[in-house]
């Protein structure tokens, strides 16, 4: 008998598939016309739709874990986004997500921001609002990621920024600077504390190589007296970002360095290192982690992926579990078309505290 939460997740998927098949959203798909008639000037578009870009993606996931008596976690997520561009100089973007994570249903405004091209000549852009941080090699959203589950360090890095960021390419170089001021690493609307700040540096000399470096400084944390039930998701199921259960204290310094190397057209390798030092009495605390991952493309349909991630969560700020965690995962992805992909993954988690846990997951993603 199918549980109610599974039916709900499937319904979420069905609703989004129906939405995506509607002509309004279908206009964002890529035409492949070859006839002369298709080259005619488009019909005049109402002003409200000019420069409007609508996107949608969804994800349905089942994770079987050997922990907790072999329970299966069902997750479904649907996302709608829209960007309205005003002559390419100013843009408003919003993204709303509907999430059903193992019977916990919620809707979130994942992104809502304005971007202004301050200087067309210097290509200076200002972004204000809540937006994806873009730190690290793992994309914020499931549809954009290359693996099924997130790594251990995904929850140890800021995934959403609430604040202001400037994007500035350095003329004559392949470097982009992104200084920012944000509310905190959890990406929430909690303005009752001092702001955080930092600088992202991106160096992309070619399509083959991308190097990123981010530093961060802001209010720190000290461990709180929590119980394991306070933390509602295991690390393997955390695709939201940091959810720190702690009290504010001291200053947090965070550093992330990552590199993505597209070795060949079929092979991509990535490595990332994160270090966080939290100056809090009576002694400094923090976390350290890294990941290495590879993607091997067999054809445009078939893809293999593998990853090892490590997180030394010394006082349990990230996972509520003071331990050294490791995760090894590997899987295969098949794209039915450019909009639909199925992923299967095996993952082995082991920590110095809880021991080992085996997970098997099947995921279906779609995006337009």
């Amino acid at each position: 008998m199918v549980a109610a939460r599974e039916i709900r997740s499937i319904l979420v998927l069905a609703v989004f598939l129906a939405l995506l098949s509607s002509p309004t959203l279908a206009q964002t798909s890529r035409p492949d016309a070859t006839s002369g008639a298709d080259l005619a000037e488009p019909q005049s578009t109402p002003a409200i739709f000019q420069g409007l870009e609508v996107g949608a993606w969804g994800w349905l996931s089942a994770v079987h874990t050997s922990d907790d008596g072999g329970e299966v976690y069902w997750s479904g997520e649907g996302s709608l986004s829209a960007t309205k561009s005003f002559n390419g100089q100013f843009a408003l973007s919003a993204q709303g997500d509907f999430i059903d994570a193992n019977n916990q249903v919620r809707g979130v405004l994942e992104q809502g921001y304005a971007t202004l091209l301050l200087s067309d000549h210097w290509q200076t852009a200002l972004t204000v609002g809540k937006f994806n941080a873009g730190i690290g090699v793992e994309a914020r959203d499931f549809w954009n990621r290359t693996d099924a589950t997130t790594s251990l360090i995904f929850g140890a890095l800021p995934q959403d920024l609430v604040g202001i960021m400037i994007t500035q390419p350095l003329p004559g170089t392949d470097i982009k600077l992104r200084p920012f001021v944000a509310e905190g690493i959890e990406g929430t609307f909690d303005f009752g504390k001092a702001p955080s700040g930092g600088l992202m540096v991106q160096y992309q000399p070619s399509d083959q190589l991308n190097i990123g470096l981010t530093n961060w400084i802001g209010p720190g944390y000290m461990p709180a007296n929590w119980s394991s039930s306070d933390y509602y998701e295991a690390p393997a199921l955390n695709w939201v970002g940091p959810q720190i259960l702690a009290s504010p204290q001291g200053i947090l310094y965070l550093l992330d360095a990552n590199v993505t190397w597209n070795v060949a057209t079929d092979l991509s390798l990535a490595a990332e290192f994160v270090y966080a030092a939290n100056s809090a009495s009576p002694h400094d605390i923090g976390w350290t982690g890294f990941l290495v991952q590879g993607n091997y493309t067999l054809t445009e349909n078939w893809r293999l992926f593998a990853r090892w991630s490590y997180l030394d969560d010394a006082v349990g700020l990230i996972t509520s579990d003071p331990a050294v965690h490791n995760e090894l995962s590997a899987g295969v992805a098949y794209s039915l078309n450019r909009h639909l992909e199925v992923r299967a993954e095996y993952r082995h988690d082991f920590s110095t505290d809880y021991g080992a846990d085996d997970l098997y997951s099947i995921d279906l993603t779609f995006g337009f």
Binding site: G36, L39, G51, T83, Q123
Partner: protein, 266 residues
Amino acid sequence: MFRGICIAALLLLAWLSAPASPDIPATTAPSTRPQGPITGKVQISSLWNLHKPDLAHVVVYLASNPVLDAVPCAVNAAEVAQRDKAFVPRFLVIARATTVDFPNWDHFDHNVFSRSKAAPAFDLDRYAYGMSKSRQFQSAGVIQVFCNIHPEMRAIIFVTPNPFFTRVDTDGNFTIPGVPSGEYDLVVWNDRCKQQQQHISVGADQTPSLSFTLEEDRQSILTFDPPQKNSYSVERGLNAKQQRLDLPVVQEAHPAPQPPPPPDSQ
């Protein structure tokens, strides 16, 4: 009398040694006079795909040949529009020396650039709605075209060495009409397959009918039809360049040419 007989004999000998018909050359050099068509059928054998292979990007053409390459192409202009954040069409086949116009019909800036050596590499910089830039392609080859503002946009322009080319229909059938008599190499190309080539003879009584089965090739797929890569999108909606190109920039823009009226208004 004898001299008269000798002259007559020489004239007769000269007449007999002359070609029976000017349509049959004394050598194997091709004639530019049109002859019969080349017809055939192309199939694609797919190992990896679970769906029916798409024949839309199959090109059949005659390889470079001094006589064929000298034949002017009746159509020397083409268009790749930019609309709804896509190149339309995404696949274009033209003969060498054709000029391609790239009008922008989106209400925001676009860019067109290519790193392909056959183009050679160029950058049309940014231009707004209703404007266009042009590029003439002098060399045969495959030209991959991108937009530096919207990295998901891509197109392929296939430039043939002469006007003797065609694309297959939905069933894979093709016809290249008016091919002069001679011996040629016929090439079948698809962006997802290994190229195939066959030596053929075309004459007054020879109208080759050929059959090809292309095999999908992993390296071709990854080169010309790679999986989509996503990028950080906080600059979405802005005319922000994604990468430094350092390519020769074409500055001259002109108003986009008016498209032909729709068929029902003619």
